[in-house]
């Protein structure tokens, strides 16, 4: 390969230099067949980066105090120098928006372009979760609609009322996602038009559901249970909903008896945004690993071709090493597993498995070993989420390199037990356990709508199915209080271990508990 003259040296940059680098990166990315959305690279100031951070990366956001809190936290951390700001921020949209901070050195700008504009960008475009659950072309449009709608609500109904509602929705937003249906894309104009229609239609439906004049509350009879004392068959209609519902916000939006139409729309907005972020929550390791793998690969190619000099490369390596550093569990810097480190290690090792497989690899990865690395990586990126990705591709070598071990913490035992370490017997168990650790279903308590007492006292019953006897944290009370605010009638939450209800939570609190 002929070595060319470096495009630029030193740490200063200007737009011409950025353009030149971007073209080279694009050429190399194309060589690697990275499929991306068009890039929209925005150069911004520190202050603007903090703004962007505070709104969880949404380019346009509605107003809420929690974003202000986020902003103050970021600002404080930055001012104190605790946090290097925003090495990259990229938005899953079409075109893909990436931010470059003006204070960055030339190396940083090139690195961020490779990382965000080609790494993350191709992930957004390729990964099945993003393809299924988000619609990159309409998200900015939808955010504009949401912001406008919410500020109109604030004008009409007062900031306090809207804020309260948003608080309640935010508390439940992790339970506002559909896991099995693909939402359809809509534009802002279309959304505004439909919204009016929806208001009328939705309210009509709710009215039908709650048309029955409520009978006297009968606490002794569980909704849906046939009973001799119920000769009129008021409860014969079966439980409502007939199947448990996991999308709490959707259920609220469609069924809550007392919400005004605008409130239903706000619930819907929060739900839609939660849906948009749903894939990101499930692909952190993969997404960061993929982007890191590509910035590493692309930067090395730039160096091989002589387009960057040694100085820039050394600066890059230092920065890269810091990003993929994984402190040990007993180190003062340890704060969980670093997704950049884990993801980068897995993708890098996957490439090695294809290019230079060992006997072990042939045993563990018979399909990939010795195959085309580019295709194998592409397949891995496109068809998995963190949980399944780790389950599938975490290799014994990576487990050995990171010296992973597994500890079982059981509150019925007095001591913790080291269940597996990085040895022949432990690989599979560690792999499985780590994969589970990233499964949303395990990370978040499994809570579903079980019954709405449409013929009785209108109370709502949720069910929590315990995972390995793990109870709910104390935050359950404020959350069901929020839920009660949305539902408008008593809310119950039953915690189940197996088939048996082990704990009940109520809101409002029954009289006898309130006295405590």
């Amino acid at each position: 390969m002929t070595r060319r003259k470096p495009i630029a040296t030193g740490s200063d940059w200007n737009f011409d230099i950025l353009h030149a680098f971007e073209e080279e990166i694009a050429r190399l990315a194309d060589e690697y067949r990275l499929d991306t959305y068009p890039n929209q690279i925005e150069v911004i100031t520190t202050e603007q980066m903090m703004d962007a951070y505070a709104s969880v990366g949404m380019p346009v956001g509605y107003h809420h105090w929690s974003f202000g809190k986020q902003f103050l936290a970021v600002e404080q951390a930055y001012r104190r120098g605790q946090m290097g700001l925003a090495y990259e921020l990229v938005i899953n949209s079409d075109p893909c928006i990436a931010y470059l901070m003006e204070e960055n050195t030339l190396m940083m700008q090139v690195l961020v372009m490779a990382h965000a504009c080609y790494g993350h960008n191709s992930f957004f475009k390729g990964n099945y979760l993003f393809r299924t659950w988000t619609d990159a072309s309409s998200i900015v449009d939808y955010l504009v609609f949401a912001r406008k709608y919410i500020s109109e609500c604030e004008e009409r109904h007062g900031v306090a009322a809207v804020e309260q509602l948003l608080d309640a929705c935010h508390a439940l937003q992790n339970y506002g996602v559909d896991r099995y249906k693909r939402p359809s894309p809509v534009s802002a104009a279309e959304e505004a038009r439909r919204q009016t229609e929806r208001e009328a239609h939705l309210q009509a439906q709710v009215n039908t559901l709650w048309r029955t004049i409520p009978g006297r509350p009968r606490d002794d009879i569980l909704p849906g249970m046939a009973d001799e004392e119920d000769p009129l068959g008021l409860h014969e209609g079966g439980r409502y909903p007939p199947e448990p519902q996991e999308n709490l916000l959707y259920f609220i939006e469609k069924n809550a008896p007392l919400l005004a139409p605008w409130q239903r729309e706000v619930v819907r907005i929060v739900r839609k945004l939660a849906q948009y972020f749903y894939p990101q929550r499930q692909t952190q390791v993969m997404n960061e690993g993929w982007a890191t793998f590509w910035h590493y690969t692309l930067m090395n190619r730039l160096y091989e071709e002589g387009l960057v000099d040694e100085g820039l490369m050394l600066e890059f390596l230092q920065s890269h090493t810091a990003v993929v550093n994984q402190p040990a569990f007993d180190s003062g810097y340890f704060s969980g597993i670093n997704p950049y480190a884990l993801g980068f290690a897995i993708f890098t090792d996957l490439r090695r498995i294809c290019e230079a497989p060992t006997e072990e690899d042939r045993q563990w990865f018979p399909d990939s070993a010795g195959g085309d690395w580019r295709e194998t990586l592409e397949f891995a990126m496109k068809n998995f989420k963190d949980e399944s990705f780790i389950q599938q591709f975490l290799s014994p070598k990576v487990i050995r390199d990171l010296k992973l071990f597994m500890v079982v913490d059981d509150d019925q035992e007095e001591m913790l037990e080291v269940a597996a370490i990085h040895d022949e017997r432990g690989y599979r168990r560690i792999r499985e356990s780590l994969a589970t650790q990233y499964a949303l279903a395990v990370r978040e308590p499994n809570i579903q709508v079980y019954a709405a007492d449409i013929r009785g006292d209108r109370s709502l019953t949720l069910r929590h199915v315990q995972d390995s006897r793990r109870p709910l944290a104390r935050s359950v009370y404020p959350v069901i209080r929020h839920l009660h605010q949305l539902w408008g009638f008593p809310v119950r939450l039953e915690s189940l271990h197996g088939e048996e209800v082990v704990r009940r939570y109520h809101w409002p609190l029954p009289e006898e508990e309130r006295r405590d």
Binding site: L18, F67, A171, M406, V479
Partner: protein
């Protein structure tokens, strides 16, 4: 395909609204911090931001989470000596792991007890005054007219060349030229027409004498037209300057406080708040504000701020000692012609019985004629005593410049302050 967009010129502070919402929501917490800061800081040191901390649990956003307990397995990196089957003591002695792994780490901000951030200067003052604005006083109403400043005041016909207003001068010149040339032009036109008419006549009928007469006349008029000057001394206009009485830009504020045994620290804090308000107010109105602290029990003494607010004294109270000292200080250092004098006095109303009359006399005869304003706040929930009654008589006499109010608790300060100054606005 890639676009570069330079957004650096775009608006910052996109989060300003959200920030304000946050501050509004935690108003009570922040107010507590601000109040502590007010008590801690020097009163000349109010105009900067403040770091505020709120307990994290108060501002957490709850979500459903797993609590400690049950059985969970954690995968962590960096194994050194463990082998399978090792049993370890629980770190921290409690239940659950040490937060290793994703389960515990998901709650953002966990482990941080305090959520800390910094209020800007404006936000800080906003909280100090609890969102209310300082009363906007007309400065004129409060100051003596004893200094002058030259200010522009239109144009005049007299002045020095350096102040010529060229545009106005040229406009005058043009007007004059038009005015002076008009009759000459008219005569010229008439003469020209007469000459032309004469020349149109048959050569036999022409009057040669008349023609030459007209020609001479035309010649003369043309010369006159040329001699109208382009610019003349009457045309000149000068920018006019006049002397405008200028409010003195210096003010001195005397803080007078009773530090006798009956004044508790709480009383002093209330007084401090009051002095602070007056100081901030004066500072917005004058270029320079000096503070003089005079404290007294049975004897008065000029002290520095620290000692003024925080040193303890006991003993009886003779208010006139302080007033006398103020008078002496004015005499010695602040000639009333050059300084705007303000006195703010705080006390719990106790005074040596026959001293109150002396105070009134001192005020009426010596101090009030020279002061801009005298405010007296009595910090007591109890009934008034002699001093108040005597001061009421002063107030009757100097209705415009003497104000007194009773304060029972800190919350009264601002309303009292505003009331004290509101009347002044109405009276101007």
């Amino acid at each position: 395909m890639t676009y570069f967009i330079d957004r650096r010129a775009n608006a910052k502070h996109k989060s300003a609204v959200n920030r304000q919402r946050f501050l509004d929501r935690y108003r009570t917490h922040i107010k507590r911090s601000v109040e502590e800061a007010v008590n801690r800081r020097s009163i000349t040191d109010m105009e900067r931001g403040e770091k505020v901390s709120i307990p994290s649990r108060d501002i957490s956003e709850p979500v459903f989470q797993h609590g400690p307990g049950g059985r969970r397995s954690i995968v962590a990196p960096g194994n050194k000596e463990f082998v399978e089957g090792d049993r370890l003591r629980r770190p921290g002695g409690g239940s659950g792991g040490d937060g290793a792994g994703e389960g515990g780490a998901s709650n953002q901000g966990e482990g941080m007890d305090e959520f800390a951030f910094t209020l800007s200067r404006e936000e800080f003052l906003d909280f100090v005054f609890d969102g209310l604005e300082l009363p906007h006083l007309e400065r004129k109403a409060l100051v003596d007219l004893d200094e002058v400043r030259r200010v522009r005041a239109g144009v005049s016909k007299e002045g020095v060349p350096a102040r010529i207003n060229i545009v106005r001068s040229m406009r005058e010149a043009q007007a004059r030229r038009i005015a002076m040339r008009a009759p000459i032009r008219r005569a010229l036109r008439e003469a020209t027409e007469a000459l032309a008419e004469e020349e149109r006549k048959d050569p036999v009928l022409r009057n040669p004498a008349r023609i030459s007469e007209l020609k001479v006349e035309i010649e003369r008029l043309k010369k006159r037209l040329e001699t109208v000057p382009f610019i003349d001394t009457y045309d000149l206009r000068y920018n006019n300057l006049i002397d405008q009485p200028q409010p003195s830009s210096k003010a001195v504020m005397f803080c007078v406080m009773d530090v006798s045994g009956s004044m508790t620290q709480a009383h002093k804090d209330i007084a401090k708040r009051f002095f602070l308000l007056l100081y901030l107010f004066l500072e917005r109105n004058y270029d320079k504000v000096e503070l003089v602290f005079v404290r007294h029990h049975t004897a008065a003494k000029e002290v520095d701020e620290e000692e003024f607010f925080y040193s303890r004294e006991t003993g009886g109270t003779i208010v006139s000692s302080a007033l006398t000292l103020v008078d002496e200080i004015i005499e010695a250092r602040y000639p009333p012609g050059q300084w705007n004098l303000y006195v703010a006095q705080a006390s719990d109303g106790d005074n040596w019985d026959d001293d109150s009359i002396t105070c009134r006399e001192l005020l009426v005869e010596r101090l009030m004629p020279r002061l801009q304003y005298f405010t007296y706040v009595e910090i007591t929930p109890h009934a008034h005593q002699a001093l108040w009654e005597e001061y009421e008589r002063v107030e009757a006499e100097y209705d415009e410049r003497f104000a007194m109010r009773q304060i029972v608790e800190a919350g009264d300060i601002y309303p009292v302050f505003r009331e004290l100054f509101k009347r002044r606005i109405a009276s101007t």
